[in-house]
Symmetry: C2
């Protein structure tokens, strides 16, 4: 029985940052999110990949007790290539080839349908809806997206936002989606659509949690050597979903703690290319960083 | 006897933001900083203004027990006009007329020379040096600057940085001055120049404190209605200097608390044009916001 369903992409990425470049490395929102979630809970992936995806990736996911029975196989894996310039705050997408994702018609394995937590990671909001529609009991739904869907599928995205419990956005997406430079106002507008919680990911500046009555500000981890931010946002969200699935609570204090764990994992993710750092990460290291987060905000 | 010397500019500003425009309003780094500091301690200004500066401003400063015996008078007051666009994160300077500031040859009143705290607010670093040279005992020196001096007086600026105890920079200035997109690395390079502390002001994202061994991250106040960010950075720094002068301590915990008080005052400053909100502000409101800062970082 899995704790958490993760719907999203599986990809092969080409990434260039000021610190190097990698070619054809594993990526995609479902990959980062499920690896991050696996530190806390048992995730099951619902996604699609091509026959060109090296088999070793499946071994690796299985070795972390990630259920991959929801991964459909088609011809060619989703490809993304991105470039990070000097300030590394935002990726410039050089090329996207959706490949098999265009044909993705998600069929949820029976063993997934009763999970109490569902993370709809970044993918076409139409697919996010199809996944949600197949869940048997209403799970706690976390929803992530990206600027592409805000620009191209705003109506479908808005509909799925209305059905989620927790909406994740990065700061520029929040400003864009709600047409407000002010993040507090953007978050308030997001809450009006229906989610109980809104989490705004701010990269090096940390993360914010908004609910109707409360506000939490998580500090950014003082990372000196960011090598590749790819997947940090997906890892953040996956870790948060995994933490909530582990503690089986969704009250505000659990959210706050989950966000700090998620910040810790996202900071590790950015320390090396692709999933490299996450795959070497030990739970004790996450706890150490959690303690540092406590110290850096004391006054 | 004053607690704190504040050196900086007195100006008349024209400001336009998405929420309105004002003409010929009081501004300048010494004005914002000394008003902010006056919530905690007795500041004395060393600056220069023109005969065109309305007399009412002096009454106002005196009514707050701010010593203005160090304000020289010349022909025309420093003028700045700036525009904030949609995201309001950075001012676009439309025009600067230095006027009397070009002739400023600071002469410190005797009553200023023994102050234990000196805030060298944003002004030409050559003037900052002239002020520092006149202090009799070595005070605790806080130093602020802006991109203009980084671009045009880098050598003089570097020299004065080496003589300060606490360097304040905003995030873009820190990246620019140390040619590093990474704020942690920039702060470390800054510490290597000599200051014991480096404070990086990040506007809506809060502020960071770095010392050789420690790191503190102050959250941003969740302000929904920013009307005019002008002077928020000067107010932040002035409030921090005032707080330290009040508690007469410069250990790390005092710095952390001072930064939170400073963040509170800076957030009020941005709620209205020019110094309007600061001049109506009650100490109890600052304390209330300090308590909110405690709550928003709990986990």
């Amino acid at each position: 029985m899995i704790d958490l369903v993760v719907a999203g992409t599986i990809g092969l990425d080409d990434i260039e940052t000021p610190f190097g470049r990698v070619h054809h490395v594993i990526g995609g929102s479902a990959i980062y999110a499920s690896i991050a979630a696996s530190f806390f809970a048992k995730p099951g992936i619902i996604s699609i990949a091509g026959v060109d995806l090296p088999e070793s990736n499946y071994h690796l996911l299985r070795s972390r007790s990630i259920d991959i029975s929801g991964v459909a196989i088609d011809e060619k894996t989703f490809r993304w290539s991105g470039l990070y310039e000097f300030d590394m705050n935002e990726a410039k997408t050089l090329k996207t080839k959706l490949n098999c994702v265009t044909k993705f018609n998600p069929k949820l394995p029976e063993s997934y349908k009763g999970a109490k937590f569902l993370f709809l990671a970044n993918i076409n909001p139409v697919i996010q809806k199809q996944v949600l529609d197949q869940m048997e009991e209403k799970p706690f739904v976390l929803l992530d997206t990206m600027n592409y869907w805000i620009e191209n599928k705003k109506s479908a995205l808005t509909k799925i936002i209305k059905r989620c419990d927790l909406l994740l956005l990065n700061d520029s997406e929040a400003r864009q989606l709600f047409d407000s430079p002010n993040l507090v106002k953007a978050a308030r507008l997001a809450l009006q659509l229906g989610p109980k919680y809104v989490v705004i990911k701010k990269g090096e500046h940390g993360a914010l949690l908004f609910s109707k009555d409360a506000h939490f500000s998580a500090p950014g981890y003082p990372l000196e050597n960011t090598m590749d931010p790819t997947g940090a946002g997906d890892s953040f969200a996956g870790a948060l979903a995994g933490y909530l699935a582990k503690v089986r609570k969704t009250d505000e204090l659990s959210l706050r703690r989950g966000i700090v764990f998620a910040s810790a994992i996202a900071s590790f993710c950015a320390e090396d290319f692709s999933t490299r750092r996450l795959l070497k990460l030990k739970y004790g290291e996450i706890e150490e960083r959690y303690e540092i987060f406590k110290k850096i905000r004391e006054f």
